[in-house]
């Protein structure tokens, strides 16, 4: 198979450092991976091409990069499936993290966030003499998360990290979930209260916008966004509701459950704890002003949808599931 590999390169020691594209025409086996082609280029055509790779079997997490614009592992991507009609594929370094050289990026941001979630088991009480007794199901569930190989594909494509580097991000939050969901971590009931409290703060679990990019990017099926949603559920259940994220969820549910639609005017106010939060109100002022002058201000009088009773009936049906959560407490029927 003859293919063209277009690589976005970067040489920090060039006279005028900057990224540039370079194409390589390579001949590889029909079942070759993207990594096979890159290694061939590196070994036979251009020894200056720089990338990290090691295991060739999607377990070491070294070779995450953007392939045709989306993050993935080069060793897990069949070239035949990646090429376009012109037998061409584009390769770029992973996003969000700073490029060191060519496809090698600086993982410091990634590891800082992992370290920030205190990534080691923190049980309470004395260890048992033998193993902790736990159900196979609980371990299989955790293994679905510990299958994370820390390749950074999710971080590369996270749309929040792209604009807000303070966000803990999908990899670190999934790592945190691996402990909060572990029956051995936290108090005697297996509830990791301290972790959930910390992760409920700004830059934590509530900053995810649920764009799903991390789920798409993850080569190991870890589905970081789903784990973040798991964290939110655990945090609400543990009573960590005094924060913008939890209030936002509550106010959202309350509005829809009551009127059948979102009250866009009151949602942001309730999310920050009401009009008494003067600092937040002041910070909203410019947005409010722009909305007003552009005719985008939501109506002050919030109207119900037609047949709102049907919506309310749905919510009543769901009520047992919502009971005990912040959503339940804030529900119009709670």
């Amino acid at each position: 198979m003859d293919v063209t590999i277009k690589i976005r390169r970067y040489d920090p020691e060039a006279e005028q450092p900057g990224s540039y594209w370079e194409s390589f025409d390579v001949s590889v086996a029909d079942n070759a991976t993207v990594l096979d082609a890159l290694i061939k280029i590196r070994e036979e055509m251009d020894g200056t091409l720089t990338l990290r790779c090691s295991c060739r079997s999607a377990i070491c997490g070294s070779c995450a990069m953007r392939i045709n614009g989306h993050a993935g592992l080069a060793c897990k991507t069949a070239l035949a499936l990646a090429i376009d009609d012109n037998n061409s594929v584009t390769i770029e370094p992973a996003g969000v993290m700073r490029v060191i050289k060519d496809l090698a990026v600086d993982f410091e941001l990634f590891w800082d966030k992992i370290r920030a979630v205190e990534p080691y088991l923190q049980p309470s009480g004395a260890e048992p003499e033998g193993e902790y007794i736990a159900s196979n199901e609980s371990m299989l569930h955790l293994s679905g998360v510990t299958a994370c190989i820390m390749c950074g594909a999710c971080v590369s494509d996270c749309t929040v990290l792209e604009v807000d580097p303070t966000f803990l991000g999908p990899a670190a939050l999934a790592k945190a979930y691996r402990f909060t969901a572990d029956p051995r971590d936290g108090n005697r009931e297996g509830v990791s209260r301290e972790r959930l409290r910390n992760l409920s703060e700004a830059t934590g679990m509530w900053d995810c916008t649920r764009c799903n990019e991390c789920v798409q990017a993850c080569p190991k099926g870890v589905a970081p966004m789903d784990r973040i949603m798991g964290l939110r559920e655990q945090a609400l259940q543990a009573g960590f509701t005094n924060n913008n994220g939890a209030r936002h969820t509550g106010a959202f549910t309350e509005s829809v459950g009551h009127s059948g639609r979102l009250d866009e005017l009151r949602l942001p106010i309730k999310s920050v704890g009401g009009v008494t939060n003067v600092a937040a109100m002041i910070s909203y002022a410019p947005v409010g002003w722009r909305a007003l002058t552009h005719g985008k201000m939501p109506p002050i009088r919030h109207k119900n949808v037609e047949n709102v009773e049907n919506v309310r009936r749905l919510f009543r049906k769901l009520e047992p599931e919502l009971a005990g959560t912040q959503i339940g407490k804030n529900s119009p029927f709670g």
Partner: protein, 559 residues
């Protein structure tokens, strides 16, 4: 100058375990690795970790016997006793650290069967046990706050008058050379699989620590004992775990026959790895394979079991060979996987150089002998990683740092690197030399070997050494210059390749993985001994060491 009591080189399972132990034992400890710790090759261990747990009715002596028999009686029995006695505690420690081991119906740790063992004592996390252990060990490393030099490549050991003083290392990211002072050093750099092509091993597995120790005068022992794993994927040569056979998969020839019944009627597919690989190779040589492969058949195991316990290797089959093991047999063949040989150490990890320790695949405490049992390697890394860490920390007490000039050693390495970078660009690239070395090794020092083939490999390596001496480094920059690192690694690999070939030539009998067609029998009278390779004037000089036998007398080996 950077300064630590204990400096661990290599951050896989053995290295991190050693660093955590040394730090807990009060030593100022650092770990240095050419890759980030979680990229280490311990990741690739799939099937599990062995331990005989008393409360399951198992006995460490049974585990020891299986290991000794598996080693074809070349393993040192004192070391094996230590490993098997320590296994239960080591396993439970890992569980307490947070490893998500699969459980049985009572919520206790579950087991699966593994090759060469008479009972199921392999504990596992799906089919990615190594990755699960490695990441948990890294969590503990973070907790320990041990200083970690990541993506630093060690270029030499500093040894003066027989005393170790530290290392020189290339900070890959900047291209800067550093000296790090240390009272004791623990080599935990893993195996040397990339000397072979193909190999299941990751691209980073280049025998660095073995070569560093060898060049410093330490002995490499049992280097002829190279494990060819029975189930490596056609084409890429990537590993498909023994866990498949542990869960009940069959090996079949092109006509669908389970040929193992002719080679190991009792243990069948779960005989020792050397036995199964020889059986496969015999069948392939007899024309009973297809395209140089026989088949791993998992189709009768059912989708549910495969998805719960073998999902990673199923993905590998789909991604790399386009074969879904749920639906059809996978073409496989024996492939180079592991080296039982390594830097000779005592049971505390100490090498023949005072202050230099070794643990994990780069070391040879001698627990694997002529053939390692599956799932004993993870155990080896943890048990002997911890022991070497503890002992290296103890050894620091009451001794001073070696006094040497930082400028001098850094300047010496700078010159060496500059020489490489300034070479004319007209020689063979390192990639071509490595490929030729790997292919010669797999062709000539294969599952079956004889004097003629091994001699051919030795001649090849001699030619390749000549070509290596003028290998150019195309990349002249300093930032993240992997071209330079690969060229240095190739030098390490050529050193180690010689010791493998010369030792294989020397052992004129068939034992464990060293199957000599010109000497087809095991010969206890003359060869129940280790071969040790030390660096001589022109290539390796060989000597012998006795095998330690405690209570298991060598006997005929049948499965």
């Amino acid at each position: 100058m950077l300064e630590h009591d204990v400096l661990v080189i290599g951050a896989g399972l053995a290295g991190m375990r050693a660093a955590i132990a040394a730090s807990a034992n009060g030593a100022n400890t650092a770990i240095i690795s050419k890759v980030h710790p979680v990229r280490s090759h311990s990741n690739a261990a799939q099937g599990g970790i062995n331990a005989a747990l008393l409360d399951r009715g198992d006995d460490w002596e049974d585990h020891a016997y299986d290991t000794i028999k598996g080693s074809d009686f070349l393993g040192d029995q004192d070391a094996i006793e230590i490993m098997c006695r320590s296994a239960g505690r080591a396993l439970i420690d890992m569980e307490h650290m947070g490893v998500t081991f699969n459980r049985d119906d009572e919520g206790k740790l579950g087991t699966r069967a593994f090759g060469g063992q008479r009972r199921a004592r392999t504990f596992f996390v799906g089919d990615f046990t190594g990755q699960a252990l490695l990441h948990v060990m890294f969590e503990q490393l973070i907790k320990s706050q041990v200083r970690s030099y990541e993506e630093w490549f060690v270029t030499s050991l500093i040894i003066e008058d027989g005393q170790v003083g530290g290392v020189t290392a290339l900070e890959i990211r900047t291209g800067e050379l550093h000296a790090i002072r240390a009272k004791t050093i623990i080599l935990a750099t893993g195996g040397c699989g990339r000397i072979f092509e193909p190999s299941t091993n990751a691209l980073i597995v280049t025998g660095d620590g073995m070569a560093l120790a060898y060049n410093a005068g330490a002995g490499l022992m049992d280097m002829e004992m190279v494990q060819y794993h029975p189930t490596t994927l056609a084409g890429s040569g990537v590993l498909l775990s023994e866990a498949a056979r542990g869960e009940g998969a069959y090996l079949r020839d092109k006509n669908g026959n389970r040929f193992m019944e002719r080679y190991a009627p009792n243990m069948m597919e779960l005989a020792s790895r050397d036995v199964v690989s020889r059986a496969e190779q015999t069948e392939i040589n007899a024309g009973n394979g297809v395209n140089g492969c026989v088949f791993l058949d998992c189709t009768h195991l059912g989708e549910a079991l495969i998805m719960e316990k073998l999902s990673q290797i199923r993905e590998i089959g789909i991604d790399l060979a386009g074969v879904d093991m749920i639906k059809e047999p996978v073409p496989i063949r024996p492939g180079m996987h592991y080296i039982m040989g390594g830097i000779k150490t005592d049971v505390d990890g100490l090498t023949s150089i005072p202050g230099v320790y070794a643990a994990g695949e780069c070391a040879n405490v001698s627990v694997h002998g002529g053939n390692r049992l599956g799932a004993n390697s993870l155990l080896d890394t943890i048990v002997f990683g911890e022991r070497s860490g503890n002992h290296a920390a103890d050894a620091c007490r009451g001794i001073d740092f070696l006094d040497f000039s930082e400028d001098e050693v850094v300047a010496r390495e700078e010159r060496r690197i500059a020489d490489l970078l300034e070479r004319p660009d007209n020689g063979d690239r390192w990639g071509a030399i490595r490929q030729a070395m790997g292919e010669s090794m797999v062709r000539n020092v294969a599952v079956f070997r004889d004097e003629q083939t091994i001699s051919e490999a030795i001649r090849d390596f001699s030619d390749l050494r000549e070509r290596y001496n003028s290998v150019p480094v195309e990349n002249k920059r300093r930032t993240f210059n992997t071209d330079l690192v690969f060229a240095l690694e190739l030098g390490y690999m050529l050193d180690v390749a010689d010791t493998i070939a010369f030792s294989a030539l020397e052992r004129r009998e068939s034992r464990g993985a060293n199957a000599r067609t010109d000497f087809p029998e095991r010969d206890d009278e003359n060869w129940l001994k280790h071969i040790v390779a030390r660096k001589g004037e022109v290539g390796p000089e060989l000597s012998y060491m006795p095998v330690t036998i405690t209570k298991w007398t060598p006997e005929e080996r049948k499965y």
